[in-house]
Every structure is written in structure tokens, then in C-alpha cells.
């Protein structure tokens, strides 16, 4: 029989036992319907509240429940919201701004040589993200996730935020002192509840971060409390910066004892001019270019080509005046016909990336008279949404294809089109985009790195519809 002392010891151990936290420090973005599922068997208040969640907040990201989740969620959200702004300069400004807060830290008595390691991690990550944003290399999000899943770096960033929060509270003692219960002073409270290595984020810390990091950085913070309070919706708490219109928002989901990161669907479809990399430029072409899907793409091209004199048949002459030479580079032409099925990307110089290979291969492929034409970078290409013809696919299209000479496009037929084996299928359109560079680029939706990755689908019907088509495909690749 164990003695009382031993029993007390065992009881203490069992009370203190906590399961080893599982999962990545910061997880991948997931659909928030997973939260609804998680609470499907919980009590009605949670069930009702979580059922409404996915409609408003489409995605979420888990943080490991190791006691740092709140800090980590805000820190990650901070970086991500800055990235969503899409401005590399802003990230560098943040380095300067945070650096200027060293005075705040020093005034509370933190020694610079002790916090500089933590601060350096914070600056370093901001700088690396800015560089990645500038290079448009598409690795920005991965870089951020990797940094936060590295225990040392992620903890350094959290520690820096803790020190900032503590310093901020102590600097505004008059406002916060009354909230402190059970501690002799605000300083003691901060030392125990904010600066300590193992402490969960509390409301005061959240408030401090919202003020000194989030709002001062031109971002907004939204915390959603999923608790058993009255009501059918999760109650939000918002901190919005003044003088900033539509600030990128950090959204945090709080469940008693745990924080995760939430997203609205529109967080990922911000106004086009803010987008660092257009998610799906209309000139992208699926690899399965011989299917009907391709037709709209061809029509973009035709619009591009009508800009060039001598590139359109007389029948389309009446369209010419509407497409003048002196395109203003800033606003995209307002589409007058069908609405775009894909978000119309802005006409920016970045489009040259997509447009130029198309042009080059087209010139190569089409009539030789095209060779002398160059679209120099300052020239911008108007991108029109596809005309409604994509709605009525079927027989008429097939007809067009079998008789390419008579189709209604703006191109003057080339001699090659009259040769046997050229017409009769969509191949000629698809071929220019099948360059190995494009196929292996992540701008291709069939590439696994593309954010809108859509694997190539093999459809036996189209494959065997005409023997001609199938044969052509194999020769073209």
C-alpha cells in the first residue's frame, strides 16, 4: 500500500498530465465545414453556431494546442494579412516600424541584447517574404508556413510578440491596471501571464497585440468567440484601424482554451489590383486543348490579334474602330457582352508573361507574314472575357471546326489551314500552348503547383469521336 505522500504525488502527477499536443504547429488551410462536422454531436448551441460558420467563413487553419496557439494564430495571421495586401514595400515598412518599437521595450526594462534574437527572426521573415513577393516566385505562402512550423523560429516570433504585448500594457498602465485582479501590479501580471514561456494568450494580451501590432500595422483583427453564450451566431469582436479602407483582416476563431485561424472566402479573391499573382489568367490553357473548352480561349487571342492591322477579315471590319491602337494601359476595357466566368485579371504588365509566349508561338505557327510583328512590353493587351458562344457548345462548333475557312473568327485564313489534316479539330489552337515551357510552368492549371490545380481529364468520347482527332493529338505531342 502506497503511503499518503506517494498517493498525493501520484495524484499531482495525474492532474498535471496533459496529452502530448498533436499536429503541425500551423496546419494547412482547410474547408471550415470540418468544424461543423467536429461539433455535429456536441450540444445544440455549438451545433447551431458551427452550422452557420462555413457560409461566412469558408476556410480555417489549425494551430497546435500547445499553449501557444493564440500567439501563434495572431502572429501567423499578421504575416498572412500583410501578404494579402500584396505590397512588398509594406512588409519592409513593418520592419522599420517594429524596430522603432524597441524604445517601448527598452522603456520597460527589457535588455536589447536579450530580445534582439527574437526580433531578428521577426524582421528576417518579413524581409524574406517581401523578397519572395517581389520575385513573384509563388513560394511565399510555403515560406511562411515553413517558418511557422520550425519550432525555434516560430517560438522566437511568439516571444517577440509577448514582449511587445507586455511592454504595451505596461506603457498604458492607466488604461489596463483596473483589469488586473489577484496580482500586486500590472508588471507582475505581465511577467506571469504574458512574458512567461508557457502561458496562453489572454484577453489583455490580445488587446495589446491588436493595438500595437495589428492596428498600428494597418490591419484589422477579428476574433470570433465560439462559446456557449446565447445566440445562433458566433459572436465576433473586431478591432479595426482608423484611416484604412478595407484593411486585410486577421480572423481568429476562439474556442474556450484554443485558438485557430479563420478565413472568409473573399480573403482569397481580393480586388484584382491587389493580387500579387493573378490566380487564373484567362490566357491559361488547359492541356486538354482539343476539347470544346478551348474555344473561348481562342477568342481572346483573336481580340488580341485584331489590334494588329491586316489581321482581320473584311467582314469584321466594323469591330475595328472599337479596338483602337492607343490603349490606355491602366483600365481594362469594360466587357460589353457576356460576363466573365473566370475573374477577369487586370491588364498589367505582368500579363506580358502570359501573352508573349502565346504571341511568339502563334507567329511561328500561323502565316509567315506575322513574323515581323512585335508586342513590346509597354504595349498592354486587352483581355476580353469569352463571348457567350461557350454556352452553346455542340453541333455549331463542330461545324466550324470541320470547315475552318468559313468560321467566323477575325483571322484571315492561312494557306496552311487549307492543307489536309490541318482543320477538322481544335489542334491548331492548342498547339501553341503546348510548349514544354508552358506545360511545366505553374501557370498551367494542369500543373500541381497551380493554386487552381485541375488535373487533366481524359475523356474517351472526345478522344474517339473522330479518328482524325486522335491521330492528330498523338502527333502533336
Amino acid at each position: 500500500m502506497a503511503s499518503d505522500d506517494e498517493l498525493a504525488q501520484l495524484e499531482k502527477l495525474s492532474n498535471e498530465w496533459e496529452p502530448e499536443p498533436q499536429g503541425p504547429l500551423v496546419g494547412e488551410r482547410k474547408s471550415s465545414s470540418a468544424i461543423t462536422v467536429e461539433y455535429a454531436n456536441a450540444d445544440p448551441i455549438y451545433r447551431i453556431k458551427t452550422a452557420a460558420l462555413p457560409q461566412k467563413y469558408a476556410f480555417f487553419r489549425t494551430c497546435r494546442g500547445d499553449g501557444h496557439c493564440g500567439w501563434r494564430a495572431v502572429a501567423f495571421g499578421y504575416y498572412e494579412a500583410l501578404l494579402r495586401g500584396g505590397d512588398a514595400n509594406k512588409l519592409e515598412e513593418e520592419v522599420v516600424r517594429l524596430r522603432s518599437m524597441n524604445n517601448l521595450l527598452n522603456s520597460i526594462g527589457f535588455q536589447e541584447d536579450l530580445y534582439e534574437d527574437f526580433a531578428d527572426e521577426v524582421y528576417e521573415l518579413l524581409r524574406r517574404l517581401a523578397a519572395s513577393l517581389r520575385a513573384m516566385d509563388g513560394t511565399t505562402a510555403a515560406l511562411l508556413l515553413e517558418a511557422f512550423n520550425d519550432m525555434g523560429r516560430s517560438m522566437a516570433i511568439i516571444t517577440y510578440l509577448k514582449l511587445l504585448a507586455s511592454a504595451w500594457l505596461q506603457n498604458h498602465e492607466a488604461r489596463f491596471a483596473d483589469f488586473i485582479i489577484g496580482y500586486p501590479s500590472l508588471k507582475a501580471y505581465c511577467q506571469h501571464n504574458i512574458e512567461a514561456a508557457q502561458c496562453e494568450m489572454d484577453h489583455l494580451a490580445m488587446q495589446a497585440l491588436a493595438e500595437c501590432v495589428v492596428k498600428a500595422g494597418g490591419l484589422a483583427l477579428e476574433v470570433l468567440y465560439l462559446d456557449r453564450s446565447e445566440g445562433t451566431e458566433i459572436s465576433p469582436y473586431r478591432e479595426v484601424p482608423e484611416n484604412v479602407a478595407n484593411p486585410p483582416t486577421i480572423r481568429i476563431l476562439y474556442r474556450p482554451g484554443h485558438y485557430d485561424i479563420l478565413y472568409k472566402a473573399e480573403d482569397f479573391a481580393p480586388p484584382a489590383q491587389q493580387q500579387p499573382i493573378p490566380t487564373q489568367p484567362p490566357l491559361q490553357v488547359a492541356l486538354a486543348g482539343y476539347t470544346e473548352e478551348f474555344v473561348p480561349m481562342a477568342s481572346h487571342l483573336s481580340d488580341v490579334m485584331t489590334l494588329i492591322p491586316g489581321m482581320y477579315p473584311p467582314a469584321l471590319g466594323q469591330r475595328w474602330p472599337s479596338l483602337s491602337y492607343d490603349y490606355n494601359s491602366s483600365p481594362a476595357p469594360v466587357p460589353t457582352y457576356a460576363p466573365a466566368p473566370t475573374p477577369a485579371a487586370p491588364v498589367t504588365s505582368s500579363h506580358q508573361d502570359f501573352a508573349s509566349p502565346v504571341h511568339a508561338s502563334y507567329a511561328h505557327h500561323g502565316a509567315h507574314s506575322h513574323h515581323g510583328i512585335h508586342l513590346e512590353p509597354p504595349v498592354t493587351l486587352p483581355i476580353h472575357p469569352p463571348p457567350p458562344m461557350s454556352l452553346d457548345r455542340g453541333p455549331p462548333l463542330t461545324l466550324e471546326r470541320t470547315a475552318p475557312v468559313e468560321r467566323g473568327g477575325p483571322f484571315r485564313p492561312s494557306v496552311y489551314e487549307l492543307e489536309p489534316g490541318f482543320g477538322g479539330c481544335g489542334q491548331p489552337h492548342a498547339m501553341p500552348f503546348q510548349t514544354s515551357i508552358f506545360r511545366n510552368s505553374h501557370y498551367n492549371t494542369a500543373h500541381f503547383l497551380n493554386p487552381d490545380f485541375q488535373p487533366e481529364e481524359w475523356s474517351p468520347d472526345t478522344e474517339y469521336a473522330t479518328g482524325n482527332r486522335g491521330r492528330h493529338k498523338s502527333t502533336s505531342q
Binding site: Q111, Y115, D117, D150, R153, A156, A196, Q198
Partner: protein, 153 residues
Amino acid sequence: MSTGAKKRIMKEYGECMADTPPGMKINFDEQNMTEWEVLMDGPDGSSYAGGHFKLKITFPNEYPFKPPVVSFKTKIYHPNVSNDDKGSMCLGLLRPDEWKPPNKVVAVLRLIHNLLVEPNPDDSIEPSIANEYKENRKEFDKNAKDWVKRYAK
């Protein structure tokens, strides 16, 4: 262990060298910088005067986000040091929930020094020794000196 943690330990070692608390000597092995051996003389005027104590400071992989672990390799009769082969010490800023990443090892060494001068019976790991310290100080002093003679010469 991350490079950041190593850098931090190196930096702290430099600081400890420049500002070693009285009666302490640190043996630092560059091959294994996460374990420091500290040789410490019992502070003059305390029950431990004349003793030489060997301590080990172990830095966890997560350092500085988790506290260093301090253990007495030399047996010592003290309310804040566990009376077993581990000789562990866990109080004040060494507690995981009170440890702050900007804390310094120098502060830890000072804490140990102060505890030898003045034990903290209210935060003890050995309740019976703490009781004795509070209620029968003479007996405690005698036992402590006895142990110094036996183990720490």
C-alpha cells in the same frame, strides 16, 4: 538544436564568464554546449560554507523557450533540492510556467547562490527538510553541515 539556440548559449556563456557570481566556476565543453558543469563553493556564512558542490545545467532543445534544468550532482541537505540521485531543483524562474525566454543563465546562477544562503521553505521540494528548517533551525544546520562534511568535501 537550432542554430539560434546555440548562438544564444554561446552568448550567455560569454556573459557568465564576464560576470561569474562569487565562488562559481563554469566548465564549458564546446562539443557539448548544452550541458554545463558548474563548480560552486558553499557561500560563506551559510550552513554550506566550506563545501564544494558540483551542479549540472542542462539546456533543453527548445531553449530559450523552455527553462534550463538544474541538478546538484553533489548531495546536499536543502529544502529546495530533491534528496535523490537527481538532485533536481525546480522553483522560481526555473519552473516551466514561470520561465521567460529573455531570462539569463546568470540569473539562474544567482538564484542558486541565494538559495544556498537562504533556502526557501515555502516553495520546497523536500517538505520534511523544509519543516525542519522552519521549526528546528538548529537541527537543520547540524544536518546540513553534516552532509557537507560527508559529501561535499
